[in-house]
């Protein structure tokens, strides 16, 4: 037989092609780097720009909300799930935020509201643990928005 045909015959009979594949898997048996993350004991490292749970920011010094009730986020939302209500404060002639409702059950976390906010009041944080036990629990009002969700911490 010709050398190439001989080689092919030997490869077939001695399962060389299968052994090559098995060698790839076997050389991962003592891996230098384990890819499994032990969640929930250690939470993963998330990028800064991650679009997670929404949060209404407050001014760190005064504690007042940064939201000026301009309604731009509600207009930008494709689903229309933000409801901003405000009243006009006669003394300062400005609108003041009274209530702010955000329906996370229909939110697709697209980030359009965050992009639209002129004062950086509404921000999508890196929280991704938004589960709640009821549908009502997914509709967040102002207080929940400012504090953020509090997922259960697992201690091992």
């Amino acid at each position: 037989m010709k050398p190439s045909a001989w080689r092919k015959f030997l490869r077939t009979v001695f399962f060389i092609d299968l052994i090559e594949g098995l060698w790839v898997t076997f050389h991962y048996q003592r891996p230098k780097y384990i890819y499994t993350e032990q969640y929930p004991a250690e939470r993963p490292k998330i990028g800064e720009r991650f679009r997670g749970a929404p949060r209404l920011n407050t001014n760190p010094e005064t504690g007042e909300t940064l939201c000026i009730a301009c309604n731009l986020c509600a207009l930008a939302c494709p689903e229309g799930l933000i409801v901003v209500s405000s009243e006009r404060n006669e003394k300062t002639r400005r609108k003041e935020l009274t209530s702010f409702t955000f329906d996370t059950s229909r939110c697709m976390f697209c980030g359009l509201c965050e992009d639209a906010c002129p004062t950086d009041a509404l921000e999508l944080t890196q929280d991704f643990e938004l589960a709640s036990y009821s549908r009502q629990g997914a509709i967040w009002d102002r207080q929940m928005l400012e504090e953020g969700p509090r997922p259960t911490q697992y201690v091992y």
């Binding site: 077939t12 092609d17 299968l18 090559e20 594949g21 060698w23 790839v24 898997t25 890819y35 998330i46 990028g47 800064e48 720009r49 991650f50 679009r51 930008a76 939302c77 494709p78 697709m108 976390f109 697209c110 980030g111 359009l112 992009d115 999508l124």
Partner: protein, 370 residues
């Protein structure tokens, strides 16, 4: 399919139902079998139909961009690119060169991610479980890059009409280069596992053959058309977003069978890495957003623009009536049109081959059903 009665003992109608691990989503295939041989197939789709085209008529142009990601959810960046390019063409705006280069980088990364999912799940269907884990491991790196760049891993909403929203983050170039360097040896690894493997070859060679003429007749595009021997790629034929600046090859096959499609997609991954490196080397500075008005109101008209998505030709036909909301958005999904050819490809095959063929077409039900 002609009617069969219970007394007809030679033909069996088998339902490969919407819940099936190998149908890549909620696809129902009704098989008409003679023993193990397939006589005819019928696809029932629509389980994931969300009415995206109707939604488009009720949203403004900028608000519709997140919905577009959710059609082909595996390659969300390509969908966004197609839509943004179509609206930009209607507006007559062009994204600045830096935005175009970053778009190319992200789209090619997305192409690699899509092909990795394809490879992993296809190998899993055929029976090789290991490539799935390896592909997912590489895909993690890509998804991490997406997450650091635009904030989401899967439904990225990466592009805006007119350019980009976010400037590239600080370690972007380093991360992408590290990925490219890490990835090419991994592709060799996948080839070690699969290409010469006699089981793989026996399962895939001469299965699901679609010749070039049949491809053109059925409107099949993408890697299936290239595996049939037609050297056609929309990135070269009608370049968009600066693809004419980059040098890359179009891998083609010979027979048009599943094995050739596998080889074509592996080569495409390598060519994508080549494009990414070229784009990174020549990344221009400058603005990332073109001159787009605050309220997007394109003039009355219509446009059809298609791009080379990882699955085939993804086209957007947008009719505008001059208002802020599109009058009609039609998405021409590559998986929908490619899936039509399933019947042709499964003639005379065995039941196990149907699984292989569904895998090689590379369908994503989100795109088939929209």
């Amino acid at each position: 399919m002609p009617e069969t009665t219970y007394l007809d003992a030679t033909e069996l109608v088998l339902n490969m139902g919407p819940q099936h691990p190998s149908t890549h989503g909620v696809l129902r295939v009704i098989l008409k079998l003679d023993g193990e041989k397939v006589i005819g197939t019928e696809c029932v789709i629509g389980y994931l139909h969300r009415g995206v085209e109707k939604i488009a008529e009720n949203r403004t142009y900028a608000q519709f961009v997140p919905y577009v990601d959710r059609m082909d959810y595996v390659a969300a960046v390509s969908n966004g690119l197609g839509y943004c390019l179509a609206v930009e063409k209607l507006l007559g705006v062009e994204a600045p060169p830096r935005a175009q280069a970053v778009r190319v980088i992200l789209t090619e990364l997305n192409r690699i991610a899509s092909h990795l999912i394809w490879l992993g799940t296809h190998a899993l269907d055929v029976g090789a479980i290991t490539p799935l884990f390896y592909c997912m491991r590489e895909r993690e790196e890509i998804l991490n890059i997406f997450e650091r760049y635009c904030g989401a891993r899967l439904t990225t909403h990466a592009f805006r009409i007119g350019g980009l929203q976010y400037e590239t983050y600080d370690g972007f170039e380093r991360d992408v280069r590290a990925f490219c360097d890490m990835f090419l040896p991994k592709v060799d690894e996948y080839e070690d596992l699969l290409t010469g493997n006699r089981i793989w070859v026996a399962r895939l060679k001469n299965i699901g053959i679609l010749t070039a003429d049949e491809c053109k007749a059925y409107g099949v595009t993408g890697p299936l058309l290239r595996a049939a021997g037609v050297r056609w790629d929309l990135r070269k034929a009608q370049p968009y977003s600066g693809y004419d600046q980059y040098e890359f090859e179009i891998p083609t096959g010979v027979n048009g069978d599943s094995y050739d499609r596998y080889l074509v997609r592996i080569q495409e991954m390598r060519q994508s890495v080549r494009i990414i490196r070229q784009a990174l080397d020549g990344l221009p500075g400058g603005p990332i957003m073109g001159k787009v008005p605050k309220v997007i109101k394109p003039p009355v008209g219509e446009v059809y623009l298609s791009i080379e998505a990882p699955k085939g030709e993804l086209g957007y036909y947008i009719v505008s009536d001059g208002s802020t909301q599109p009058y009609r958005v039609r998405v021409r999904p590559p998986s929908f049109v490619n899936l039509q050819a399933l019947d042709r490809m499964c003639r005379g095959a065995l039941v196990a081959d149907v699984v292989v063929v569904i895998g090689t077409i590379d369908i994503v039900l989100g795109e088939v059903d929209r």
